[in-house]
Every structure is written in structure tokens, then in C-alpha cells.
């Protein structure tokens, strides 16, 4: 469809979550913004192929995800950059404890296989349905569900089992983990 004002506004409205998705995928704020820019250019160049009435955010996420994938094959993620750059993107500095917890979470997320990470983010953070996430990732709905489940299990193992002792005063979680054997 042609680039109408309303379509342009809808694209603009999707930018904040495109950035969040790009940062979650790449772990690097600068690279994420380059990805978003490429995504927008590609979307605008191919706007004729967008079906009116279909899910615009899903369409844009698909473009971004594919760009990230093809880019990923060329260069490995710059893991050592991830935390510092990501922290720079935050407007407000979280409190010390929250910040530590946040860093731990970010580190654990980076340890997930890419398939699982993107599935978890799309469903758990971007708020896409399993069906939309499956179409964005080009796989079956069941595949997305199992990736999300595996991602959650792995995060739980990384965050709340090994480090249960120093995690915090959450008695429920500690009791459950401690009592899982008996």
C-alpha cells in the first residue's frame, strides 16, 4: 500500500519497541539503532508489499529479525561491549541492588541460544501472540512454544537455582528450590 500519513505514524509508533527488540537481540545499543535504521529504510522501500490491515509491528519485527540474522552470520556478537553499552541506554540509573539484579538478568539472557532468546522476547516482552511470533521467526507455533519454555527453564536455572542463596529474601522461591528434592 502507499505510504499514507497514518501508515507513517504507525511506523513511527513502532520504533520504540523495535529498538527494544533490537537491543535485546544484539546486546549493543549502537548496533541496535543501526539495525532499526536499516529496518525502517527497508520497510519504506518495500512499503508496497505491506498488506493493508495486516499486523504492521509484526511485519517490521520480521524485517528487523531477518536483518539481524543475516548480519549475525557475518560478525559475532560483541559480548564484551554488551553490558556497558546497554547501561548507557538507560535514562535513569537503577538503584544498586536493582542494577545488580538487572546485570545478572542481562548476562543470563545473553547465554541463551539465539532462537530461544528471540522467542522469549517476542512473547514475553514484546507481547506478540505465539502465532505472530511464529510468523516473525518463520517457524511453527509449537516450535515457538517449546523455545519459550526452554528459554524460561534455562533462565530459571541460571538465575534462581545456582544463585539461590544470595539471590534475595524471597522465601517462597528459596523454599521451593530447597524443597524440590524431598
Amino acid at each position: 500500500m502507499p505510504l499514507t500519513d497514518s501508515l507513517r505514524n504507525d511506523i513511527l509508533a513502532a520504533v520504540p519497541s523495535l529498538r527494544a527488540f533490537a537491543i535485546s537481540l544484539s546486546g549493543n545499543a549502537d548496533r541496535a539503532d543501526d539495525l532499526v535504521q536499516e529496518t525502517l529504510l527497508r520497510a519504506l522501500a518495500n512499503i508496497d508489499s505491506f498488506q493493508p490491515g495486516s499486523n504492521l509491528p509484526a511485519w517490521l519485527f520480521t524485517i528487523l529479525r531477518n536483518l539481524f540474522r543475516s548480519d549475525y552470520r557475518k560478525r559475532r556478537r560483541e559480548v564484551e561491549d554488551a553490558e556497558g553499552n546497554y547501561a548507557k541506554t538507560l535514562k535513569t540509573q537503577p538503584s544498586q541492588n536493582a542494577h545488580l539484579e538487572f546485570e545478572e538478568f542481562r548476562t543470563a539472557l545473553d547465554k541463551l541460544p539465539q532462537d530461544q532468546r528471540e522467542a522469549l522476547i517476542l512473547v514475553g516482552a514484546s507481547g506478540f501472540s505465539y502465532e505472530d511470533a511464529a510468523s516473525i521467526c518463520g517457524c511453527a507455533v509449537g516450535t515457538i512454544k517449546s523455545r519459550v519454555n526452554r528459554a524460561r527453564s534455562k533462565l530459571a536455572a541460571l538465575l534462581y537455582v545456582d544463585g539461590a542463596e544470595d539471590f534475595g529474601p524471597d522465601e517462597t522461591i528459596r523454599a521451593v528450590i530447597g524443597g524440590s528434592g524431598g
Binding site: 529498538r19 527494544a20 535485546s24 535504521q37 529504510l41 535514562k91 514475553g124 524460561r152
Partner: protein
């Protein structure tokens, strides 16, 4: 009775993949907190301008590398 029992056990025993509802909700909360931190930053100028530049029919966006904001400065000095 049966339903009540299964609901009660659901909330205290690990579900699929050994996850309790508490841990699931904790992960969900962290994930959204991380994501929403970025979402709340809104639309950076560079993207707003990029999309605005397409207002004029036939206009082509100017690709800037590295996020510089030197508009229309692609000529030589």
C-alpha cells in the same frame, strides 16, 4: 473438588520445565522491565527525521552512518 486440588497443586509445584509460577512471573517481570526501559525512551530524533524526510513525494532518505545528525551536509566543504 478435583479441580480445586489440581489448581492448588499447580501453584505450588513446578510446572513444565521445572518452573514454578513464582519463577515464571519473576522472569516475565525482569524481561518486561528491561524491554520497557528502552520503549520509554520514545522515538530518537534520528528516526523521526528519517521517516519525516519521506514526506516529499519521490524523496529518498539519506543514509547516515554512525548516527550523526548532520542533515543535508553531504556536500563537500
Amino acid at each position: 473438588m478435583k479441580d480445586l486440588k489440581s489448581q492448588a497443586s499447580k501453584s505450588t509445584t513446578p510446572g513444565k520445565g521445572g518452573l514454578t509460577p513464582e519463577i515464571q512471573s519473576r522472569i516475565g517481570h525482569q524481561l518486561r522491565a528491561m524491554y520497557d526501559d528502552v520503549v520509554r525512551q520514545g522515538v530518537p530524533d534520528r528516526f523521526a527525521e528519517l521517516i519525516k524526510k519521506l514526506d516529499a513525494p519521490g524523496a529518498t532518505p539519506q543514509v547516515e552512518n554512525g548516527g550523526g545528525s548532520n542533515d543535508n551536509n553531504n556536500g563537500r566543504d
